[in-house]
């Protein structure tokens, strides 16, 4: 009986390394996807901010400069 338990334990231990790499690979992929989602969210958050007026002012100034304001 003891021996069978020991055998079962060894078998169980043998199974684990075979299953683990796949599970952790899926897990890693999941984590990378989650990071990717967050990364895009972080970027889009700034993209969706209203553009400060100074930016458009730069182009307005450039325009009047170019059309020969002097």
């Amino acid at each position: 009986m003891d021996r069978r338990d020991a055998k079962a334990m060894i078998e169980r231990r043998d199974e684990q390394p075979r299953r683990k790499p796949k599970a952790s690979l899926d897990e890693a992929r999941l984590r990378q996807q989650a990071i990717g989602v967050k990364l895009r969210q972080m970027f889009d958050e700034v993209v969706n901010e209203p553009v400060p007026d100074e930016f458009l002012e730069i182009l307005r100034r450039a325009d009047s400069r170019d059309s020969g304001g002097e």
Partner: protein, 200 residues
């Protein structure tokens, strides 16, 4: 500062089209600058300089080509030439990270994004920009390679190293923030991603 006039005067229709497209890119330039500097004020200064440079260089832009990549290249060049000029070069990343830390003291800010920002700030600059361009900016590896002036294979390896490093930072909580237990960031990022995917 004399603006460079295109030969034989500017074509008003072309100028108008150029300007319209350039204005549409301002939000993206701001976002890219934010990831490079990590500091909103410095980022807007950088993006404004890049905008001015892009406008002044409009004669050299070929209409119909990828203007987003072209302006990102200008912004990136501007960032690195300013960085080179600065004698505090090595301190910049650290300072930006510290300012970010102060900025995120806002308790209403979403946690996972803060951690991601901090983790991103810890990556080497060339890995960070590669990951941002491909992972968030929507650029193909080839376009990112053009923007960063390196080989496509170099971009690919930088992106994959950046991904691995960022994950490791988020999992171990190696970013510089007190009172957070390791693994919290990754957990909240996973939870958020799940929530976002069920909403859509």
């Amino acid at each position: 500062m004399d603006p460079q006039k295109p030969d034989g005067g500017a074509d008003p229709a072309r100028e108008k089209a150029f300007k319209r497209e350039l204005v549409g890119l301002i939000p993206h330039l701001r976002a890219f600058a934010r990831t490079l500097t990590g500091d909103p004020t410095a980022a807007d200064d950088l993006a404004q300089d890049a905008l001015m440079k892009a406008w002044d260089a409009r004669a050299s832009y070929q209409m119909g080509t990828n203007m987003k990549a072209w302006t990102f290249m200008i912004l990136r060049n501007q960032f690195y030439s300013e960085k080179r000029r600065s004698w505090r070069q090595t301190q910049l990343d650290q300072e930006a990270a510290e300012r970010t830390l102060v900025a995120i003291d806002d308790p209403s800010a979403p946690v996972a994004l803060d951690e991601l920002r901090l983790g991103l700030a810890m990556l080497p600059a060339e890995q960070r920009e590669a990951l941002v361009l491909v992972g968030a900016g929507g650029f193909a590896y080839e376009e990112a390679a053009e923007i960063c002036r390196c080989a496509v294979g170099t971009v690919k390896s930088r992106v994959s190293r950046a991904r691995r490093a960022l994950q490791a930072i988020l999992e171990t909580g190696a970013y510089d923030r007190d009172g957070k237990s390791a693994g919290d960031a990754m957990r909240s990022i996973l939870a958020d991603a799940e929530r976002l995917s069920t909403v859509r």
